[in-house]
């Protein structure tokens, strides 16, 4: 019979060296954190209110994080932000779950056993980085740094500078992928082909009409809350009219004055028809006609405005509303009415997002929208779609001499997949690795990214990532054990955004830049480390120090180097206040109209290109001589867009629409010789997706969408958010459902060329017939207990398991969506998948 004496005898016999006793110390430690104070409404305890920045989505809203008794208890909006005015969405508020997720990875992990077996061992940071650095250094020393592929999902602002501009550039690898092709690459490429550097800010503050093609801005957007709350204010306070074209009644469509259902992938036909109406009915006259001076609509240099009008009319002649009705299902009269409305409501904001552009030739849809905005005079004007304005930070640039980057040509898609992938074809990276003809990386490293879950063809992604013959070594940095981390060789525990530094610069809808920072609201949990700090250490270990001690120091230095921030009070000011904008700054519009002073273009190295009227700096473009520059020409000189100075129009040199990524002129190029050279129609036109033309009578088009309470792939571990949204369904119209004998709630099988999934049907008139819609966010099989239902030991109650009342975690549609590409931009064609839908139990 055991008694206390036996237990105490153990204590008596323990060697002192075996004891722990390292966690607690005698003295109370003091610490100071920047920020204000607040009090708990329930306990009355003092809380620390620390200004920081969100990272739940790319909007990166400034926030105020409340710390009570050493823990993060609440996140709210930042009232001093001119971007958000203190608003904060559910995702941002639910971000407390990133900090407190009981399934967070707190230590570096090394796999033991087979890749994907789920067997791990904790290792020290020293052990993990010794191995990673040794492997990376070996490749660098051998002259093959490109065999390290770095793939990020979300990496912005100071993180991007530290990790990409300093670490990866000094390491020497250019084999770098991102996620843009699964996001809105078609939109960005479409903008680069037309008005230059991407991002359109929607100036809802000043608009009198909104015409929306495929954006669900009230639920999800890259500048979500800053734009959404402005739109709601405008709709409610000024009662402006908003018309949304969407395949489904999203919450944005529901809040609009009118929802116009449209067949998936046909928005471009509607837009072209609206352009037809605007031109034919003379509705371009006035601001539209004035703007045409800055628009290229023909080959060659600068015809008169009348010639441009004639060219547009000629091109658009066949794109009548009646023609568009046959393709899109939108009645011709409706097209005419809306076209007249948008052209006569001054100003109007014409907006577009994935619903319109994540399709075959989606980049051309964005070009068509730019056309409609151009001919109605709603470009870069108050109330229109404007060139984005964001904070421009100055920062330490690191070593002056960088190695010349080498890269494996595996980020721009399979051969022939896309002709102008200015943002890469990232979802085909794994296929390219499998293919091997362009080489394979020996190390595949990813950060804030989930190659398995976020791309299409999930099984293919798993199979390739698991295969050590294809990918010899894999490392990821992630605070959480997601479907991709499960297949890594080493997991480095990143901090969630609640515990790290950074400067931020996201677009300001006020057209006035806002500088803001992120700061740790609590000490990093466990041994998690900001990956930027890890990269700084890796560089030290490999013998090419970056000249920066850590991210905090980088931020402090950036605050000193950035004049506006320094003048405000630098790092200390930013820590205490979180946000800064110049109170005297005026909103920026009409940037293209700025007339350049002669000293800008009458200088050594700058020449005017006779073919385009572009002034460019041939020396900056590394051309040997002015003669060579004039012979070869601006358009065909490699990366000459970086040397752009200005655009000559009618004898005046303007700032113009500065090019980015492609060598376009300073015009708003609706006619693109760049696109033409690649085999596409130079002006926005119409070609249907081949598989849509070949659809059988039983086929449907599957589309996908986001909800307001989750982000694409990395919020399902936030329990408050997943409690709200954890299960999805297949939206299908009653007409479509009846044809297939499907009732609301029935389990159905959705089958595509890439596989099949089963999911419950939601029969609703809120979606066009012939279509089925399944959201993102669900169907996780990792990512912790809330996301996947994988509880701690089976059969035992976890503290929280009573509260996990939901039984299903939904279905992930990406298993059956192809990793295909828009042939122009490489955009993943989320909304084009041809499927059959059958009630489960129905024979094939």
């Amino acid at each position: 019979m055991l008694n206390r004496r036996n237990f105490l005898q153990v204590g008596a016999s323990v060697p002192l060296a075996a004891l722990a006793g390292e966690a607690l110390v005698r003295h109370v430690s003091a610490g100071t954190v920047g920020g204000g104070k607040d009090y708990s409404p329930t306990t009355g305890k003092e809380r620390q209110a620390i200004p920081s920045a969100c990272w739940q989505c790319v909007t990166r809203c400034p926030n105020i994080s409340y710390v009570e008794d050493g823990r993060l208890v609440k996140i709210e909006g930042q009232p001093n932000s001119i971007r958000t005015h203190g608003t904060m969405c559910a995702k941002g508020q639910g971000g407390v779950g990133q900090f407190s997720d009981p399934d967070r990875i707190l230590y570096p992990m090394r796999r033991v056993g087979k890749r994907g077996e789920g067997k791990w061992k904790r290792v020290s940071w020293d052990e993990a980085l010794t191995e990673v650095a040794a492997r990376m250094k070996k490749l660098r020393d051998a002259g093959t740094p490109e065999k390290v592929m770095f793939h990020y999902g979300r990496m912005k602002a100071s993180h991007s500078k530290l990790i990409k501009s300093l670490f990866l550039a000094n390491y020497g690898t250019g084999t770098v992928g991102n996620h843009t092709s699964i996001c809105e690459a078609a939109k960005w490429t479409g903008q680069e082909l037309t008005w230059g550097g991407h991002y359109d800010n929607w100036d809802f503050d000043n608009t009198n009409y909104v015409l929306n093609f495929g954006s669900n801005v009230l639920e999800a957007h890259t500048n979500h809350i800053p734009t959404a709350h402005r739109l709601i204010a405008r709709l409610t306070e000024k009662n402006i009219r908003m018309v949304t074209f969407d395949v489904r009644l999203s919450n944005t469509a529901a809040m609009s004055s009118e929802w116009v259902p449209v067949i998936p992938g046909t928005d471009r036909a509607v837009v072209l028809a609206m352009c037809n109406v605007v031109m034919n009915e003379g509705l371009y006259k006035g601001v539209g006609e004035d703007f045409l001076k800055f628009v290229k609509v023909t080959a060659g240099r600068n015809p008169s405005v009348d010639e441009k009008v004639a060219a547009l009319k000629a091109h658009l002649a066949d794109f009548t509303p009646e023609w568009a009705e046959k393709i899109s299902g939108v009645p011709a009269d409706k097209i005419r009415t809306i076209a007249r409305e948008v052209a006569t409501s001054k100003p109007a904001c014409i907006i577009s997002y994935r619903g319109a552009v994540a399709h075959y030739l989606g980049a051309d849809t964005e070009r068509a929208v730019q056309m409609l905005a151009s001919i109605t005079g709603n470009v870069d004007n108050p109330g229109g779609r404007c060139k984005a304005v964001g904070a421009k930070w100055k920062y330490p640039k690191g070593p002056k001499k960088k190695p010349k980057s080498r890269k494996l040509k595996i980020v721009d898609g399979l051969p022939g997949a896309a002709k102008l992938p200015t943002h890469h074809v990232n979802h085909q990276v794994l296929k390219m690795i499998k293919d091997g003809s362009a080489g394979r990386p020996e190390i595949y490293m990813w950060y804030c990214y989930t190659p398995v879950y976020a791309n299409g063809e999930v099984q293919d992604n798993i199979d390739i990532l698991k295969d050590e013959k294809l990918i010899p070594f894999s490392v990821c940095s992630n605070p959480f054990y997601d479907e991709s981390a499960a297949l890594a060789d080493i997991i480095l525990p990143d901090t969630p955004y609640t515990e790290r530094w950074g400067w931020e610069d996201m677009v300001s809808p006020a057209q006035i830049p806002e500088y803001y920072i992120r700061q740790p609201v609590v000490k990093p949990l466990g041994e998690s480390r900001d990956f930027a700090d890890v990269c700084i250490e890796l560089a030290d270990r490999m013998g090419f120090p970056l000249g920066v001690k850590n991210h905090e120091e980088f931020l402090k230095s950036s605050c000193e180097k950035t004049p506006a921030v320094k003048a405000a009070g630098g790092f200390e000011y930013m820590k205490a206040n979180g946000v800064y904008h110049d109170p005297k700054a005026k909103p920026k519009y009409f940037s293209y109209k700025k007339v350049l002073k002669p000293e800008a273009y009458e200088k050594d190295g700058v020449v005017m290109d006779p073919a385009t009227g572009v002034y460019w700096n041939w020396k900056k473009a590394k051309v040997a001589s002015e003669e060579d520059a004039l012979t070869k020409g601006y358009t065909h000189t490699k990366k000459s867009y970086k040397a752009y100075v200005g655009q000559e129009i009618d004898g005046v040199v303007y700032s113009g629409f500065k090019p980015d990524k492609v060598n376009k002129s300073g015009f708003m190029e609706l006619y693109s010789e760049i696109v033409e050279e690649k085999g596409f129609a130079p002006l926005p036109s119409w070609t249907a997706a081949p598989e849509h033309e070949a659809m059988k009578s039983d086929d449907l088009i599957m589309t996908t969408f986001k909800v307001a309470t989750q982000i694409h792939s990395r919020s399902a571990n936030c329990k408050y958010l997943t409690e709200i949204f954890h299960e999805n369904s297949a939206w299908v119209n009653p007409v479509t459902a009846t044809e297939r004998n499907i009732a609301d709630g029935d389990m159905v099988t959705i089958k595509s060329d890439f596989g099949e999934v089963q999911i419950a049907a939601r029969v609703t008139p809120a979606i066009v017939p012939g279509t089925v819609a399944v959201s993102h966010h669900c169907g996780h099989w990792e990512y912790g207990r809330y996301a996947s239902g994988k509880k701690a030991p089976d059969g035992r109650d976890e503290a929280d398991s009573d509260r996990i009342w939901w039984k299903s975690n939904g279905t992930h549609p990406n298993w059956i969506i192809g990793n295909r590409a828009d042939p122009i931009s490489g955009q993943l064609r989320w909304m084009d998948t041809v499927v059959t839908v059958k009630k489960v139990g129905t024979s094939a």
């Binding site: 055991l2 206390r4 036996n6 237990f7 105490l8 005898q9 153990v10 204590g11 008596a12 016999s13 323990v14 060697p15 060296a17 075996a18 004891l19 722990a20 006793g21 390292e22 966690a23 607690l24 110390v25 005698r26 003295h27 109370v28 430690s29 009570e68 008794d69 050493g70 823990r71 779950g97 900090f99 407190s100 997720d101 009981p102 399934d103 990875i105 707190l106 992990m109 033991v112 789920g118 067997k119 791990w120 061992k121 904790r122 054990y481 499960a486 949990l525 466990g526 329990k719 990792e782 994988k790 509880k791 701690a792 030991p793 035992r796 109650d797 976890e798 503290a799 929280d800 009573d802």
Partner: protein, 238 residues
Amino acid sequence: MPNVKPLFDRDELVRSAIERSRLYGLLAAVFRREPSVEFLCHLKTPELMVAFSAAGVDLGDEFGTDPFVDIADELAIEYTRLFLGPGKHISPHESVQLKRGSGILWGPETSAVLQAYRDAGFDVGENETYIPDHLSVELDFLALLANEESQAWAESDLDRTVQLLRLQHSFISQHIGKWAAHFCTKVNEEAEFTFYPAFANLLRGFLSGEKADTSNRINMTGKDQQPENGDNHKSVSG
């Protein structure tokens, strides 16, 4: 002045407090990290092996036969799987394990534990990476209190002794005692090897008597005051 008969054997109480402190320290070390080869060697000292046997602590057959290098490797994987993840694991934190608790890391329970440390004059070290309510940290706290208790007994500082006993009693009642037992049950269910269940059972067995034992010791001092949590108990005279 009335002649008060001593109710206790001071030397025995000093020794017993030291033993308890070391037992807490051992358990803290076991649950803090994977056992190193060096740690395994310490466990295998003859005196400790005899004590383990008497206390019903069975470290497994392989402990007697296999090379420590191999055992350490296997236990590293076991420790990771049981207590760290990634993925499904038994998170050894009060805020996660407490029934009807918050279920999250750094919940309000964690703050309360941290406050308990501070009330006792301790704090988490500046470089400490473990969350304050990790099992090993809570055990460290009890080890520290028991160690200070032994010094207080040695100095016959009964006021200090009672204070320290009261702190231990209240910490067991309000914190570790509320979740450690069912944590240990889970370890028994999930472990592949006998190592961690052995120490889990030792922890559960020992802790189950500690609340009463600290009350008894308070009574032994003759200081006639109730423990802070208001538990009813019978006075025990020596």
